[in-house]
């Protein structure tokens, strides 16, 4: 230990360690057990603390920040209710493999286990939804634990890490030598850094020999920052690409070779192609049940290549013929080199004739039942818009270049179907857990990360009301988010299932007339509100909202949409991917 070693309290060490880990923002909410830490925050300038209005929202903000930047989001909450309020957001991040570090205050070590005021076993409560967790025993461990937490959260398959910090370990009166570790090594944690060469070669051969290939990309491709490499491989071969909800944008959505999203509400052509393929080339996707439908009937003729950082994802639902464990940003460049070299050596592969036939079939599927991008011949019920029209208007007004967060429900599927993302990390969405209330705080996290970017939140009135208190946080920090509320006056997705599976019995999926006047609501927080229900004014409103006029404003657009609209296609439960309901008549 050198002469200059600083001596800091546990609270100061914690904040200093966050600085040394490169943290810009902490999203948090104070309380008794966290007060020493809050005092440490007060006495420094380098890390900015954002005061939220509910701890769940703090976790979604950190999550949105992480999704948009790839860097871990940081949360600070107090013990007991502060910690338990954060759990939904931790679970959301866990399901989508989002790097996050959550620091929770805890009662002092000597009180742990006594049912002390605001004591909850946070390590226990969060255990099933974290990548790892720590309970600080001694203040001196804090720098090491923080360094490990960031390392674990952001490497391998990323995920949330909880650090539970008993109050005594942040005592301002006790000082300890501070040293932040330069690097972290853990003998029990060594994430794979390269894929198996022989397997990658086999995968290249499979790509070159396929006659009816589909490249199926997921969130891992976004997280692994390998979208552009995958795009060049796909384009080189002329293969069709489809994506999960989580992977949108990794392969550009406006390219003709993109089949659209696959799965439960995926496009007809994507799901038909998956079912009839002879090669499924899965990259950073996990064969979720919302994708595969009945796994036993999944792609009966396909050879399956599966690339994933997490061995536990491989062959979990569908057995892979060629499994490759490794990070996509090292596996795909290696694969690209091999495919390139092979194509130069043997120009007869891939089989262009077979591929052309395959594309013809896809084109037919697309022509028969592709997404209806020309909604203008249809109209919403009198005095309302179609949700698809609204999403398309947002797409036009933003030039397809916004960050778009969403919530959960029909509006989310319409957003995913009709906003075409050309870049990764633009579509910010809770796919795995499907957390209503995610959209607004996640958009806020994105806006903090990219203050000058256009950030839109396409939400539904049900989801919006789950975290609308954050309008106050938006006021405090002047966040110019554009909220597009697809207002169908109902828990639309629930209602759709009730229409389709419960004889139209709408058990508790509508609110009668108990919705607020959203325009007045947002105005009371100092924001701008618009109401729109006429197709004729839609583009003009969107031009205002996303134009110079409201550059610095939070604008809320309450779009009155047809309450009876359903999301299609929709997978028929228990069927294969090819089995879809295509419209209401069926």
């Amino acid at each position: 230990m050198s002469e200059q070693t600083e001596h800091l309290s546990g609270g100061d060490m914690l904040i200093r360690a966050l600085q040394d880990a490169g943290v810009e923002y902490i999203f948090g909410y104070p309380g008794g057990a966290a007060l020493h830490i809050y005092d440490a925050i007060f006495r420094q300038q380098r890390v900015e603390h954002i005061l939220v209005r509910h701890e769940q929202a703090a976790t979604h903000m950190a999550d949105g920040y992480a999704r948009a930047t790839g860097k871990p989001g940081v949360v600070l909450v107090t013990s007991g209710p502060g910690a338990t309020n954060a759990v939904t957001g931790i679970a959301t991040a866990y399901m989508d493999s989002i790097p996050m570090v959550v620091i929770s205050g805890q009662v002092a070590n000597e009180f742990i286990g006594t049912d002390a005021f605001q004591e909850t076993d946070m390590v226990g409560v969060s255990r099933p939804v974290v990548k790892h967790s720590y309970l600080v025993k001694e203040a001196s461990e804090i720098p090491r634990i923080v360094a490990e937490a960031f390392y674990i959260a952001s490497t391998g398959r990323p995920g949330p890490v909880v650090i539970d910090v008993p109050k005594d370990t942040t005592d301002p009166a006790q000082l300890f030598p501070y040293e932040f570790p330069d690097s972290v090594t853990l003998r029990s944690y060594n994430p794979t850094t390269r894929g198996h060469g022989g397997q990658i070669r086999k995968a290249a051969t499979a790509l070159l020999e396929a006659e009816r290939p589909v490249i199926y990309t997921g969130g891992g491709l976004v997280q692994g920052n390998a979208g552009s490499t995958l795009t060049s491989i796909a384009d080189m071969l002329g293969h069709p690409v489809t994506s999960t909800l989580m992977g949108l944008g990794a392969y550009p959505g406006s390219k003709p070779h993109f089949l659209g999203m696959l799965g439960m509400h995926g496009t007809y052509e994507a799901n038909m192609a998956m079912h009839h393929a002879d090669l499924i080339f899965a990259v950073g996707a996990r064969f979720d049940d919302r994708v595969t439908n009945d796994p036993a009937q999944f792609s009966p003729d396909a050879k399956i290549v599966h690339i994933d950082i997490d061995p536990a994802s491989i062959s979990k639902i569908v057995r892979a013929d060629i499994p490759i464990v490794g990070p996509v940003d090292s596996v795909l460049p290696e694969l690209k080199r091999i495919v390139n070299a092979e194509m130069a050596r043997d120009p007869s592969r891939p089989d262009r004739v077979a591929l052309a036939e395959w594309w013809e079939r896809i084109a037919r599927w697309r022509a028969e039942h592709g997404l209806d991008h020309d909604q203008r011949h249809r109209n919403g019920a009198a005095g309302s818009l179609l949700p698809q029209q609204v999403v398309q208007a947002v797409y036009r007004a933003t030039g397809g270049d916004a960050y778009v967060s969403s919530d959960v429900g029909q509006h989310q599927m319409f957003a995913a179907q009709y906003y075409h993302f050309d870049q990764p990390r633009r579509w910010i969405n809770s796919g795995g857990l499907g957390t209503m209330g995610f959209g607004l705080p996640a958009a806020m996290g994105v806006q903090f990360a990219h203050p000058d970017a256009v950030v839109a939140c396409i939400t539904g009135e049900g989801s919006f009301m789950m975290n609308m208190q954050e309008l106050s946080t938006c006021m405090q920090y002047a966040l110019p988010i554009k909220i597009i509320n697809l207002n169908n006056k109902a828990l639309g997705m629930v209602k759709q299932w009730q229409d389709m599976q419960y004889g139209g019995r709408h058990s508790h999926s509508t609110y009668r007339d108990a919705l607020p006047d959203f325009v007045h609501l947002v105005e009371s927080f100092g924001h701008v509100g618009y109401r729109v229900h006429d197709l004729g004014e839609l583009d003009a409103v969107m031009a205002d909202v996303f134009g110079e006029k409201h550059k610095g404003d939070l604008v809320f657009v309450d779009a009155h949409i047809d309450p009876d609209e359903h999301v299609y296609p929709m997978a028929i439960r228990g069927g294969a991917m090819k089995d879809m309901i295509l419209d209401r008549a069926v």
């Binding site: 390590v123 255990r127 099933p128 967790s133 309970l135 674990i152 029990s188 536990a312 062959s315």
Partner: protein, 163 residues
């Protein structure tokens, strides 16, 4: 199918609860679990007895490996291995039963480790199957209390599960 899985894990507070939590959370069953520190006090060694088909066991081992504190996981039933379990029983030993219990105990190479007026305490080690057989060999009414350690296992030959 019955499987014996050996796990080397950091000997840290909370590590064991992650293993047990994983089994509960993913709906895997634990038939028995034995755990103790190794010769290196920073390490613990677990032997988990579970059951499932190949794909289930594959998932179990993969998920165990995913736990940050887990260092190595081996399915001992994949290869040759030695496994033993220890059992302590209190058995009623009165009248004719006193000699009978002693005889059965000898046949199974058990040891009587404590003697009371009407009870023997028997120590028996062996495979789980042998312990089951011993219990079956005694009259049901004779057994008053049973405690089993759960199986411990180790690979045969040169196979070593270490750091």
């Amino acid at each position: 199918m019955r499987r014996l899985i050996a796990v080397l894990i950091e000997n840290e507070a909370g590590a064991l609860s992650r293993v047990v939590g994983l089994f509960a959370q993913r709906n895997y069953n634990i038939e028995s679990l034995s755990v103790a520190p190794t010769e290196d006090p920073t390490l613990s060694r677990l032997t988990l007895c579970t059951s499932g088909d190949d794909s289930k066991i594959e998932q179990i081992t993969k998920h165990l490996n995913r736990l940050i504190e887990v260092i190595r996981v081996v399915d001992l039933t994949d290869g040759e291995h030695v496994e033993r379990e220890m059992m302590l029983l209190k058995v009623r030993a009165e009248g004719v039963m006193r000699a009978e219990v002693k005889r059965t105990c000898d046949i199974f190479r058990g040891q009587i480790v404590d003697v009371a007026e009407s009870l023997y305490t028997v120590l028996l080690t062996g495979t789980s199957g042998k312990l089951d057989n011993f219990i079956r060999a005694l009259p049901k009414t004779a057994i008053v209390e049973v405690v089993r350690s759960g199986v411990s296992g180790i690979g045969r030959n040169e196979k070593i599960l270490g750091l």
